[in-house]
Amino acid sequence: MATEVLVPLAGNIWVVLVNVGDEVEEDDELVVIEALKMENPVYAPCDGTVSEIRVKKGDVVEDDDVLMIIEES
C-alpha cells in the first residue's frame, strides 16, 4: 500500500535525507523542513520503501503538500 508523506508545517526544504528505493523504518527522519530559522524533521509514518520523492533541497512547501510516497512493506 502506498502512503503519502505530507508536509506538517510550511517552510523550505532544508535537506532530503533519503533517496528513491531506500528502505525506511517508522520514525526515521526523511526530510528536514526549515521554518523561522528552525530545523524541523519529518518522520516516516510507517516501515517501507521510498517509491517517489516530490521535493528537493530549497523548495518552498505549504501545509499538506506531498513530500514523498512510501510503499508500505
Partner: protein
Amino acid sequence: MVFFNNMGLLAVTPGMVFMWIIGLILIYLAITRQYEPLLLLPIGFGIILTNLPLSMLMEPGEGLLWRFYHYGIEWEVIPPLIFLGLGALTDFSALLSQPRLIFLGAAAQVGVYVTFFIAYSMGFSLQEAATIGIIGGADGPTTIYLAAKLAPQLLGATAVAAYSYMALVPLIMPPIMKLLTTDAERKIRMKKGRKVSAREKLYFPIIAAMVIILLVPASAPLIAMFMMGNLFRESKVVERLNETAQNSLMNIVTIFLGVSIGATMNAEVFLRKEVIFIFFLGLFAFMISTASGILLAKFMNLFTSNKINPLVGAAGVSAVPMAARVVQKVGAAADKRNYLLMFAMGPNIAGVIGTVIAAGIFISILK
C-alpha cells in the same frame, strides 16, 4: 600641567570601573553565547564609552552619543522605525487563520499589570512601575518607547533587562510550561487553520491600523509603522521598500538604538539598589506572562471541542519568534510529530500588538 588636569584617568570613580565590567560582560555574552548580539554588543560598548570621564559624549547639547540618544530615542524616532521593519518581517497568516488564538496574546499581558502593581506597592512611582511592568511584554522597542516617555531614568536598566530575558527565553519558559501542563496536554495536536488569501493579508494592515489607532490613539506611532511595514510586504509592489525596511534600515537604526541605550547607563544612574529590583521584577513579569497565556489556553479548552495545546499560550509573550520556537521544542519533546511552531506564531504576534496596546494605555493615563 594642563594636560594632566584634562586627563580622564584621574577622574575615574569606582562606580565607573564597575560599569566597564558590566559593559564587558554584555559584550562577552553577546560574542560567546550570542545572547541578542545585535543589541547587547553595541549596548555593552556604549556603557563603557559613557563611563569614560570628561569625554562629554553624553553632554546635553554637544555630545555625540547624547545626540543619538536625544534625536533617536527621546524624539521617539528609532522604536517606530524598528516597528516598520518588524511589520515588514511579519506574516500575519497564523493570526488570520486562527483568530481565537489572539486572546492568548492578551492574557500574556497580565504579567505586565501584575508587575506594575507590585512595583508600585514597593515604592516606585506610577510611571516607573509601568515601565518596569512592560518588561513582561518581552518587546524591546516597546519597552524603550515607554521608558523614554514615562521614566527615562530607568531606560537603560529596563532595556537591558528586557533584552537579556528575551535572550534567556529558552531557559526561563520551559520549566513554567512543564509545570503548568500535563503530558497529555502537551501532546494535543491542533487542527490546522484555513488557508488565508493574499487579499485578506493585504486588507488586514490597513483595517487593523485604522481600528487600533481609533481605539487606543496613544499606540499610534508604533502601530502605524508596524502596519505600514506589513503593507509594504503584502502589497507585493514595493519590494525595494519592503527589503529596505526589513534589512538596511533596521540594521542602521539598531546601531543607534544599541549604543544610545548603553550610553544612558552611567554609574550614577545605574548603580542604585532600585536597579536590582528592576531586574527581579522584570523576570517576575516575564514568568507571570508565560503562565497566564498557558492558563487562558487551558481555560478556553473547557469550552471548545477543537482543543488548543496550552503550550502555545506561552508564546503570547512577544519575543518573536524565540517564544514560538521554544513552544515547538517543548511540544516536540512530548510528541515528536507535533508541530506547534506555526500555531504558536499566532499568539506570538498577538502578543506584540497586545504589548503595544498596553503601553498605549499606560501612556494615555500617565503622561
